[in-house]
Amino acid sequence: MQRLEPRAHQADTPRHGPLPRPSTATAPGTGAPVPGGPGDLGVPGAPDTQATTYHEVVGKEPAVIEIRDFSLWYGAKQALHAVTMPIAAGKITALIGPSGCGKSTLLRSVNRLNDLVDSVRIEGDMRLNGDPIYGRGVDVIELRKRVGMVFQKPNPFPMSIAENVVYSLRIDGVRDRTLLEEACERSLRGAGLWEEVKDRLPESALSLSGGQQQRLCIARAIAAEPEVLLLDEPCSALDPIATGRIEELMAELKGQYSILIVTHNMQQASRTSDFTAFMYLGRLIELGPTSEMFRLPLRRETEDYVTGRFG
């Protein structure tokens, strides 16, 4: 089995130190790297492409999730290479990158959905508001209740709309009708679906349209009042109108929830997110504020990708 290879950027990201400092200092306003600065490594064209380039503001905000040196293997194949990344609380962080770069794997590591795959092995550390996500004695069920997730394809359960929304409460054994009804209405309102479905709550969730189904899944995810929302390409199966509604919804949910979204859609990432992380071949290449990432990326790979020149 392949071992973790020595990391060139270890100096920048001490294993259990404080949050990663930006490895590339940027001149405020311009976004251009300061020549000869401490993080000169990340200058486009620099020989060390293994390291992550962090923009200056990264790590200054309180983080809801701290990922440190996180590596993951599917059997012998390494899918994530020592990813270190803070996810800002109350903000939207977009994960972009070509197919197979490990975005979804990273996302699914946050709520330990990868545990379902038999051959998965991990190294490194991940914390949710200071609590370890991996490690002995961690209650995965409890963890998943603190992290909501919405999938690529809408996956409403084969039950009524109302039952879908309160599923996470039901499995906790909540039987109190008023409590369930309140949670149902609150979550559906939160997902902007209440007005459309309030008269048909007992109907099957499968009778909804695709966009409605996806918003129902969001309602289901926020019913348990999670701390983080993970969105795995939530709009890739939707038409532009439904996509627009989901994006509006994300803007509304921001602040109340910290959102980590995987997307293939550059416009979507630039429109909706506060931070953008670019991943490539299982490595986090660059992490910074979205406006800088799209206008003045520090790394050539990022620039090539966001301008569509990637090849």
Partner: protein, 565 residues
């Protein structure tokens, strides 16, 4: 225009175009033959199924239709009276002309020793349809009697010779006789039956006391005295009942319908032996329909008579349905649980593959092998153990240690288990993984995910498995012959003695009935119509059971997996 003219001529592309032409022209590549073969296979299958169903429908529905009675005289030979059952052309020698010959159902087995006669048109000297030819169905074991009406007799004296009034008198007395027969059955089954049971219980109690106290003990002697006193009381009661039965029988025997057989002999038919009598050549369409309906009603609701070749099949219907339902109750939960473990819990590997292959192979084991296994395992091993533990006083008479409803249902459950397991596994595999992930992401445990998401979603597929199992189980006969189906079941599955449903009793089964009637009865030709009708009924029951399951599946499907995309 100019643009068109100036456009350069298309490249010759010699290599591509001829090849495409060849493809279009080649029938093998276009798949015409393949299409014909596939369509032909389907057409052949449909044709065979339709033919089979049509045969069973026509023969099965026609069995109970009352035909006209034809009387033919054949010169010096005795005349014949019967319904025409079959008609065909035959040639005595290759060059002779075809001659029609007909098979008459002449009945009167007690007089002629046969139910059927073939009559060739050439030997007929006179043919007529006698106005007052009567078909009388008897319950005394001899089958139908056909003859011309002589009159109505009481105490051996002809009191009514007018045919219409004789039939009216017969109908009136028939109703009274039915009441007397009912009272008689009540006496025999309920009163005397209860006395016999009490006697048997007393015997068992005595035996138990003998074992506990010993022959000389005071307690035992007391019991013996009490039991003797009770027995004497019971004997007196039984004697009284027997007397009443004899009186009823005597009253019934006084009245008789007298018919004249075609050979001239006159035959009185006691009113209590008469099931139904009708003037076959007098009936209009409505009258015939009445007889037809009443025969179907009898077939569906009554018990069999004349070694199953006449009467009803109600006990067999009941036995088939109850056995199938009990089997379903066993096989579905069992199979679903097994498939759940295989698909959701077991780690895929050589062992799981081996188990899966074994389950699939189990579906190919001949059913008679299951029957032998059921007999050895359920009846002789488990049944005998139950007898020894719970019914030891009744030994050596077995209670559970023989074929019975319970063991038949369990054997068939075993037989149909692979069907359910395979169908359930497929249904589980068809549940999208995104459903499971969605549930896990909501913080559900594996059990919660399976019970709340996976199983409901897989239910339509599981129901399909249950449907297949029901169809297979209801139609299976071979193993039943070993583990509980009987030609005659003197005791019904359900009666008024607790616990009311008796899973240890042997039972009648429609499939077994078909086999028994068609191939084991003394007169297969007479039983043939019943074989068709019973087959029709069995198919109808299986279709009904399946329809019920299919409608259930449709409801489930609408509820759990309607997909708007």
């Amino acid at each position: 225009m100019t643009a068109t003219l100036r456009r350069p001529p298309p490249p010759p592309a010699r290599s591509a175009r001829p090849r495409r032409q060849r493809l279009a022209a080649d029938p093998a590549a276009r798949g015409e033959a393949w299409l014909w073969i596939a369509a032909g296979a389907l057409a052949l299958a449909v044709l065979m199924i339709a033919g089979l169903l049509a045969l069973i429908l026509v023969q099965g529905l026609g069995t109970f239709w009352p035909g006209e009675l034809v009387r033919v005289e054949r010169g010096a030979e005795t005349a014949l009276l019967g319904e025409v059952e079959k008609s065909e052309l035959y040639r005595a020698t290759p060059e002779s002309l075809g001659v029609r010959r007909r098979m008459l159902r002449t009945a009167n087995f007690d007089l002629t020793g046969t139910h059927f006669h073939w009559v060739s048109d050439t030997e007929i000297t006179r043919e007529e349809r006698p106005q007052w030819a009567i078909v009388a169905e008897r319950s005394d074991g001899w089958g139908r009697f056909q003859g011309e009406l002589v009159g109505w007799s009481v105490d051996g004296q002809l009191v009514e010779r007018d045919p219409q009034r004789a039939l009216a008198a017969c109908a009136a007395e028939h109703a009274r006789a039915a009441e007397r027969l009912e009272r008689r059955a009540e006496l025999v089954q309920d009163e005397i039956g209860a006395a016999n049971r009490a006697q048997e219980e007393a015997r068992i109690e005595l035996q138990r006391s003998l074992r506990e106290h010993g022959p000389g003990a005071a307690a035992h002697r007391l019991l013996v005295e009490r039991s003797d006193a009770e027995q004497a009381l019971r004997d007196r009661q039984v004697a009284a009942w027997t007397e009443e039965i004899q009186a009823l029988d005597a009253e019934n025997a006084r009245h008789a319908l007298v018919l004249r057989a075609p050979d001239g002999r006159e035959q009185p038919i006691a009113v209590d032996a008469l099931v139904r009598a009708y003037p076959a050549n007098q009936l209009g369409t409505l009258g015939r329909l009445g007889v037809y309906a009443s025969r179907w009603l009898e077939f569906l609701t009554e018990e069999p008579r004349e070694s199953n070749s006449a009467g009803g099949v109600w006990p067999a219907i009941f036995g088939t349905v109850v056995m199938t339902l009990i089997m379903t109750l066993f096989v579905v939960p069992f199979g679903v649980l097994a498939a759940l473990y295989l698909r959701e819990y077991a780690k895929p590997g050589p062992l799981v593959s081996f188990v899966r292959i074994s389950v699939n192979n189990l579906a190919g084991v001949p059913s008679i092998v299951f029957g032998v296994f059921g007999l050895g395992f359920f009846c002789y091993l488990i049944g005998s153990s139950i007898d020894e533990l719970l019914f030891s006083e009744a030994l050596p008479n077995p209670t559970y240690g023989k074929g019975g409803l319970m063991w038949a249902a369990l054997t068939l459950a075993l037989l149909t288990l692979p069907v359910v397991i395979v169908a359930t596994e497929e249904a589980l595999a068809a549940v999208p993984n995104s459903m499971r992930e969605g549930s896990y992401a909501c913080g559900a445990t594996k059990v919660q995910t399976i019970l709340r998401i996976v199983l409901p979603r897989a239910l339509p597929g599981i129901t399909t498995g249950a449907i297949l199992a029901i169809a297979r189980g209801a139609g299976e006969v071979a193993p039943l012959m070993l583990v509980g189906a009987a030609k005659l079941a003197p005791k019904l599955l359900v009666d008024d003695t607790p616990p009311f449903l008796h899973p240890e009793r042997s039972f009648l089964h429609l499939g077994f009935q078909i086999f028994d009637l068609g191939f084991q009865s003394q007169n297969s030709e007479a039983a043939k119509p019943m074989v068709y009708t019973t087959t029709l009924l069995l198919i109808a029951i299986i279709v009904l059971l399946n329809l019920a399951a299919v409608s259930l599946r449709t409801r489930l499907r609408r509820k759990f997996s309607a997909n708007p995309f």
